[in-house]
Symmetry: C2
Subunit: 231 residues, 2 copies
C-alpha cells in the first residue's frame, strides 16, 4: 500500500457524500446516453447538418448549455458518438470473429455487418456518416478516425497472414493489395447504401463474401505485385 | 421565318452596343473561369470547409460581392464547379472509350482515370471532394450528383450488356451485381486515396483492371443472383 492510499483510507468516510457523488455520476451517465442516442437518430435521419447542440438538447430533454458543457462543441459530440459506435461495432466484430482465423475471420467480419446492417440501420448509418464526414474534417475526429482505420487495416493484414500460413492463399500473393481490395470493396458498397436507400446492402455484402472474395482468394496466385503493365 | 424573327431583324443594328455586349460576355466568362479554378485549388488543398465566397474572391482578384452575384451561394458555386469538373471527366471518359465496346470500354474507362489521376490530382481531388460532400448535402447539388451517378451506372450496364452479347461474360451473370462491384470498387479505392495521400491509387486502379476485374469477368458464371445463402 502506498502513501496516498494510507492517507486516503485515513479520511473519515462520509457515506452520504459518496452516495450523492454516485447519484450525480449516474445522472451524468444517463444524460450522456440520452444525448448520444439522440445524436445517432439525428445523424441517421438528416446527416451531419441535422446535428446541432440545441437539437440534441431539445430531443434529449436538456438545455443547449448542458450539451455544450458535456462535449464542449459539435466536434466533441461527434467524437463521443463515433467512439460509442466504434466500441459497439468493434464488440460485434470481436464476437463474430472469436476463435476464427484466416479467411474465415474476414468472411465472418463481413457477414456480421451484412446480418446487422438492416437490424441496426440507424447505428450503421450514423457511424458511416461520421466516417465520411471525418474525411473532410480536421482535428481530433479526423485523427481518431485515421487511428481506427489503421487498426482495422492491421486486423485485415493479420487475417491474411494467417490465411497464407494456413495455405488458403498463395505464397506469391500481395497481402497489402488484397487487404486494400477487401476493405475498399466494403467501403464502396456502404457508400452506395448511404446514397441509395433502396440498395440491398445485405445481399451485396453476402455476394461479396460468397462470390467476389471467394473468386479473388481462390485466384490469389494472380494477385501478386507488378509495377510495370505492358500494353 | 416567324413573326418574332421579322420583328427582331427589323430593329436597327447598333454595332457599338453588340461589341460592348461581347466584351462584357468575355469578361464574365474570364471571371467565371478564374473563380472555378481557384475553388478547385481550395477544395483540393483544404476540402469543403476551406471554400468561402470571400476566399475564392480574394484568390481570383474579385470582391466577395462579385462571387456572390455570380453563383448566389456557396452551394451555387459548388454546383458550377462540379458541373465543370464533370464535363471535363466525361470528356476524358468519352475520349478514352471512343469506338470501344464491352469489357474493353470498362477497362479503358478505369485505366484513363489511373493514367490521369496523378497528373491532374487537383481536379480529381476537388471532384471527389464534392462527390463525397454531395452525399451529405441536400438540394440541388445532391440531385445533380444522383443524376450523374445514374448516368454512370447506365453506362456501365450498357458496357456489360455489350460484353454479354460479345460472349465476354456468361449469360448467367447478374449484370447489376457486376456493375455494383465495378463501380463500388472504384469509389472505395478513391475514397482511400482521399484519406491517405501516400496511397498508390494509380497502381491499385491498374491492378483493379488487370487482376481483380479480369478474375471477376473470367469467372462471371459464378456471379449470378442467389437470394438464399445456406450455411
Amino acid at each position: 500500500m502506498n502513501q496516498q492510499n494510507i492517507y486516503k483510507s485515513g479520511q473519515p468516510i462520509q457515506v452520504e457524500h459518496i452516495f450523492q457523488g454516485k447519484k450525480q455520476q449516474i445522472r451524468v451517465i444517463e444524460s450522456d446516453n440520452k444525448m448520444v442516442e439522440q445524436t445517432i437518430i439525428l445523424l441517421s435521419d438528416g446527416g451531419i447538418s441535422a446535428v446541432t447542440l440545441e437539437a440534441v438538447g431539445v430531443r434529449a430533454g436538456y438545455s443547449r448549455g448542458l450539451v455544450s458543457r458535456h462535449y464542449g462543441s459539435k466536434d466533441g459530440l461527434f467524437i463521443r458518438v463515433f467512439k460509442y459506435l466504434e466500441d459497439w461495432i468493434e464488440a460485434n466484430c470481436s464476437h463474430a470473429t472469436q476463435n476464427i482465423q484466416g479467411l474465415d475471420a474476414i468472411n465472418a467480419f463481413i457477414l456480421d455487418i451484412s446480418n446487422n446492417i438492416n437490424l441496426h440501420a440507424e447505428k450503421y448509418r450514423a457511424y458511416f456518416c461520421l466516417w465520411f464526414y471525418g474525411l473532410e474534417s480536421k482535428g481530433e475526429l479526423n485523427q481518431y478516425l485515421m487511428h481506427v482505420r489503421n487498426l482495422r487495416e492491421q486486423k485485415h493484414l493479420k487475417w491474411l497472414k494467417q490465411a497464407q500460413k494456413l495455405k488458403q492463399l498463395s505464397r506469391k500473393s500481395d497481402l497489402s493489395m488484397l487487404a486494400d481490395f477487401v476493405m475498399t470493396s466494403i467501403i464502396g458498397l456502404i457508400h452506395k447504401w448511404m446514397f441509395d436507400m433502396g440498395f440491398n446492402i445485405e445481399l451485396r455484402l453476402k455476394q461479396l463474401v460468397n462470390i467476389q472474395l471467394r473468386t479473388m482468394f481462390s485466384n490469389s496466385h494472380l494477385f501478386y505485385s507488378v509495377n510495370y503493365w505492358g500494353e
